[in-house]
């Protein structure tokens, strides 16, 4: 390592094999290459104790700064306080959590993202009062789905729209099978689908094909940080999808840390995210390396 190179820790509650996290990781690695500082990355698959342990390991190692997601609302209050006490800047990214005393937050506002999906369905008259919406999620109970569901509830509850969250798992073949089963059983009942994770939204096209449902018969919105989803949006299987700026989120988080560790405090949050439809999908397709 060259003189003056600093070490930052990038700690994620995501699963290493969750494709969207690959884009986040890419941003972090790009940043390390660009700046010459080193970034130690780790994934904790939603395991709170091991996530906490990693943050504390970073504090023990005397990190110059820490980028961390929040595996669960409120779960990092103490460790963030310890980092601050040790004069190590710590910035929250990807999943917001008000409780700890972060230096800043970089990423989407999950509550508002949930609200946007629901509102999109309502505004475009894709669902009406009394309808039923199906919301598959990879890991039920994980923070992202939970926050999003809250946002969705704010819109749907007053309209009397009901919904069900189902467990799709993180395994692609299993996801497709379970979603196909569910669609086959409930095809008549479902007015719309909200994919609460990238893997589920990205599987919609294959599920429709498998269940023999033509594109567009059931409206779909959800996460859109994968090539599968951008393709599905372009092909009409998914009506609108949410872009989270994953690479940018990591990059900005680390940049703000570098700035902070150089003595320029960050006093603001950076919010990301954009809901795209078929016309703009090509842009995000390109960012992720698709043709």
């Amino acid at each position: 390592q060259e003189e003056g190179a600093r070490t930052f820790y990038w700690i994620s509650h995501g699963a290493p094999a969750d494709p969207v996290w690959t884009y986040f990781l890419q941003g972090a690695e790009q940043w390390a290459t660009d700046t010459g500082h080193s970034v130690n990355t780790s994934f904790h698959s939603g395991d709170v104790p091991s996530h906490q342990e990693a943050v504390r390991a970073a504090i023990a190692a005397g990190a110059d700064g820490i980028c961390s997601t929040s595996p669960d609302p409120g779960s990092l209050v103490d460790v963030v306080a310890e980092a601050r006490a040790a004069d190590i800047p710590i910035v929250n990214f990807n999943t917001s959590d008000e409780a700890p005393d972060w230096n800043a937050y970089v990423g989407g506002d999950l509550l508002s993202i949930g609200r946007q999906w629901a509102q999109y369905l309502v505004d475009n008259q894709l669902v009406q009062e009394g309808d039923f919406v199906w919301m598959p999620v990879e890991v039920p109970g994980a923070s992202y789905g939970v926050e999003e569901e809250r946002g969705i509830a704010e819109v749907f509850e007053p309209l009397g729209i009901t919904w069900e969250v189902t467990d799709a798992t993180l395994d692609q073949a299993e996801i497709i099978t379970r979603m196909t089963d569910y669609l086959t059983a409930n095809r008549e009942r479902i007015s719309a689908i909200i994919g609460l994770g990238d893997l589920v939204t990205g599987s919609v096209q294959r599920v429709f094909d498998q269940a023999g449902i033509p594109a567009g018969e059931i409206p779909v919105v959800g996460w859109g940080n994968s090539l599968d989803t951008t393709q599905a949006v372009m092909d009409g299987y998914v009506n609108a999808a949410m872009w989270q700026d994953p690479q940018a989120t990591s990059y900005m988080c680390l940049s703000s840390l570098l700035m902070e560790s150089s003595g320029i405090p960050i006093g603001f949050d950076v919010l990301t995210g954009a809901l795209y439809e078929a016309e703009t999908a090509q842009l995000y397709h390109g960012i992720m390396g698709g043709q």
Binding site: P19, T22, I213
Partner: protein, 347 residues
């Protein structure tokens, strides 16, 4: 009297074919399967519709491949926790080779299978030469293989969109539509070539286990390794071959699955190991080795997968899914144990 002994050696007296059938170890699982189908169909008749059957069988056989090989391995007294990760690893390798233009699909498929054989060989060598429990070896191997798949792809899924047109894809998972029409084979029964492969391999393995010398060695290796070794059976070699076979079939299943679902995700196959072992055990193969049944495993595979399909079909609340799966496993096992007891009251 000496005469009567040698006259009928191969055919012991049968106290009624029905009774013999009932006392077979596969009888319990069969009753469970039939009972389950009856219950689900009575709640939602669509459970037995052609579309649903075709759909349910698709993924079933992919796990089934692994379960078949695991049956042989478990009969020899070992098991393999790394099959799920090999299931994810093999297609990732295959499609990386294809997508980077390094080689055509057929060759890449072979390379993936060869790598899987290598993985099985290493597990087998660790277990037999170093005498490390297969639990630890294959758990370590699980992590290494899964990690390698991630590291190889940087975590990105490999795209497999145009697989469908290749001849190999047709041979492995070509669709066969019987009596239906259109994209989803509406109104008919759509099956994949993989089902036919599954049937072929199941018959072959059944025959291997019960009718060949190697099958005899597998059972002896699991039943009493000391005795088998004393008789000159190379128990180490038997186990190594079975570890390789189990990795091979996991890779084969992974490749098939990746072509069918058009996705090669380094993460796929997570957690399959426990499900596959559960299938084998429900079928009547014992965890500690010595006794195994391919017929039972086929029943076990169908029981566990149709159960998952049926639970969704009858409309169990989404978040209660696991409760039902778990409760059904427990309930069925209790029933099974009851059946066993009834026709074997002596012990």
């Amino acid at each position: 009297m000496a005469n009567s002994t040698s006259a009928l050696p191969a055919h012991p007296p049968r106290p009624g074919a029905l009774r013999a059938f009932v006392s077979k170890p596969e009888f319990g699982p069969l009753v469970l399967l039939v009972g389950m189908i009856v219950v689900f169909t009575s709640i939602n008749p669509a459970f037995l519709s052609l579309t649903n059957i075709g759909n349910a069988l698709t993924f079933t056989v992919e796990l089934g491949f692994i379960a078949l090989a695991m049956t042989l391995l478990m009969t020899a007294g070992e098991f393999d926790l790394s099959v799920g990760s090999v299931f994810g690893f093999a297609p990732v390798v295959m499609w990386t080779l294809v997508n980077t233009g390094t080689m055509p699909l057929g060759l890449a498929f072979l390379v993936a299978l060869l790598l899987a054989l290598g993985i099985g060989l290493i597990s087998g060598l660790f277990v037999t030469r170093l005498a490390i429990p297969s639990f630890l070896v294959t758990l370590g191997m699980l992590l290494v293989v899964r990690g390698t798949a991630l590291w190889l792809t940087d975590g990105f899924p490999q795209r497999t969109w145009n697989a469908g047109e290749q001849w190999l894809a047709q041979v492995l998972v070509g669709e066969i539509c019987m009596g239906g029409e259109g994209v989803g084979c509406a109104g008919g029964l759509r099956i994949y070539m993989s089902l036919i492969w599954f049937a072929i391999i199941a018959v072959a393995f059944h025959y291997l286990l019960t009718g060949t010398r190697f099958g005899n060695w597998i059972q002896a290796t699991g039943g009493n390794p000391g005795a088998a070794r004393n008789r000159g059976v190379k128990t180490g070699r038997v186990k190594i071959i079975l570890f390789m076979l189990s990795a091979l079939l996991a890779a084969f299943a992974g490749a098939i699955s990746s072509i069918r679902v058009s996705a090669a995700n380094p993460n796929s196959g997570t957690g399959y190991e426990l499900e596959v072992i559960a299938m084998v055990v429900i079928g009547g193969t014992v965890l500690t080795g010595g006794r195994g049944t391919i017929v039972g495993t086929v029943l076990g595979v169908l029981i566990l997968r149709l159960m998952r399909n049926g639970i969704v079909m009858i409309g169990v609340p989404g978040l209660a899914y696991n409760i039902f799966i778990g409760a059904i496993i427990l309930g069925m096992m209790a029933l099974h144990s009851g059946l066993e007891r009834r026709h074997n009251p002596g012990t």
